[in-house]
């Protein structure tokens, strides 16, 4: 009984995904006459058009990858460095600086969006991917610093003392001990940052104006807005854009779920 109910809900939850995938392999005529039925004939034209035509999709994909990877690298490096200082070195004003960063988790991106736009304009970053990367990274920092600091705090002090006794300083401690054991927290931070960056719509919408620099979410929006585009092509476009995320998700479901809930549960 329970299983049947769970299964039935799963069907409803999955239905929109089913609709997208099924419509991407239909002719546009069939999408309009029979959107949710089985495809007949099975038709891959839409995929050909999306992947071939002017290569727009590949550009969006490339841009999304560049922005996501750069954001992840910046967030991990900067937050890790700050996290080490905030957890392993005693200095005056440490709680103040920590709270300064953590405060950033309280307010949403949208609050700062208009001045941020002007800021990027004054710095000459408007219309550049650099602007999107820096803004996304800056907003990802509080959560990342929170996670890194929490993780580093739990490293036993004896390990640090032992390093110092052996004549190695802070640097030995970082490279020999901290970095090798922080793989799980790096993974968590990278996953959170990746998903946020990959799906981010508002920042790129504000910052980027030239469609050759668009990310996938902007690309989807633009693509479905062109009135010559058939629904089957829109669906094929969405299906392909979901594939990287779906593959990533189902190969690392456990880590993703743990990562996305880590911030929430620990907070």
């Amino acid at each position: 009984m329970k299983f049947l109910l769970g299964f039935f809900i799963a069907l409803i939850m999955f239905f929109p995904m089913y609709a997208v995938i099924i419509c991407s392999v239909k002719t546009n005529g069939q999408v309009l006459s029979d959107p949710f039925g089985i495809p007949h004939p099975f038709d891959l034209t839409a995929f050909g058009l999306v992947l071939g035509k002017s290569g727009e999709f590949w550009g969006f994909l490339y841009n999304s990858i560049v922005i996501a990877v750069s954001t992840i690298v910046i967030v991990d490096l900067f937050a890790m460095a700050a996290g080490i200082a905030l957890s392993r070195i005693r200095f005056k004003g440490r709680p103040l600086i920590y709270n300064f960063f953590i405060m950033g988790m309280l307010f949403p991106i949208t609050v700062a969006v208009l001045p941020l736009y002007l800021q990027l304009r004054d710095l000459g970053l408007l219309g550049t991917q650099g602007g999107v990367i820096l803004a996304e990274a800056a907003f990802g920092l509080p959560m990342a610093i929170f996670l890194f600091t929490g993780f580093f705090k739990d490293i036993p002090q004896e390990l640090q003392d032992a390093c110092q006794m052996d004549g190695g300083g802070m640097f030995t401690f970082f490279f020999k001990i901290v970095i090798p054991i922080s793989r799980p927290v790096v993974a968590t931070v990278s996953i959170i940052t990746f998903i946020q960056s990959w799906n981010q719509f508002l920042f790129p919408l504000l910052v980027l104006d030239d469609s050759s620099k668009f990310t996938i979410p902007l690309g989807i929006m633009q693509f479905q807005g062109q009135f010559t585009t058939g629904w089957n092509q829109v669906m094929a476009f969405i299906t392909i854009s979901i594939i990287p995320m779906a593959a990533f998700y189902f190969s690392a479901q456990r880590y993703i779920v743990a990562g996305l809930t880590a911030g929430a549960v620990k907070g």
Binding site: K2, P16, A82, A112, L141, I238, I242, V265, G267
Partner: protein, 289 residues
Amino acid sequence: MKKAGLVFLLITPAFLLFLLFVVVPVIQAGHYSVYRWKGLGPLEQFVGLGNFFRMFGEDIFLTALWNNLKVVILSLLLQLPVAFFFALLIGRKRFPGSMLFRGIYFFPYILAEIAIGIIWKFIYNPEFGLPTMIASFVSGGETKIALLGSTEHAFTAIFIVIFWKYIGFHMILYIAGLQNVPDELEEAAIIDGASKLQVVFHVIIPCMRNTIVISVFLSVVGAFNIFDVVWAMGQGGPVHSTETLVTYLYNFGFKRFAFGYGSAVAIVIFLICLVFNLFYQKYIVGESK
């Protein structure tokens, strides 16, 4: 290397980036909010709290605010309880295929909202979409249902999407929280003759207080920042009936280069989140420790 130098070296990159792109813009938003300003030239037209007074006199702004509040209310009354039910249903170890089901229920959460908005716009299509199909089937004739085209129903249609997209996230939080409920406690209650409902309300929910507190918090703050889904499904239309605070900020602040007015809207969002947060910390979170 001196300790001070090391600390400086480690903290400065993050500090500068955060200061430049988060802190300074937030402060600027506060500053701009008391001016009338197009974003170019000096800030000259000081209007005091004029932008705020104007805002609360605008029907569209009030609709947007009300829509956000509706999302909060509906999420707390419907989405979270159903998410909790899902967690109890499929989150237990004895449920066959639990991991796969969790995966399916949670999957919408990691998809781009913009893609989701377009998918649902397709499902709601008045010509061939699901509501039209169902209505035609029930009535036996051709009945076209245009949910997103109706000022009355568009917001409900969008809420269904929000419900579907975020329910998995809250379910996963609850499943994590369920791990903290000691099995012995549950078993003892059952042996003592407690009904299933009594176990849920008197054993499970009290043990999960912290998880529920967090889930409610994220749900409320999230509700005030809804943008992408609404944007993809109609940009706040028809006739501004589905406007939210953030789409309002975009449509009436950014698009019209009304940076002063838009910043005032941003400050209102900020204050709502801040006040809620302070209230919540003081009265709810504090008690659970």
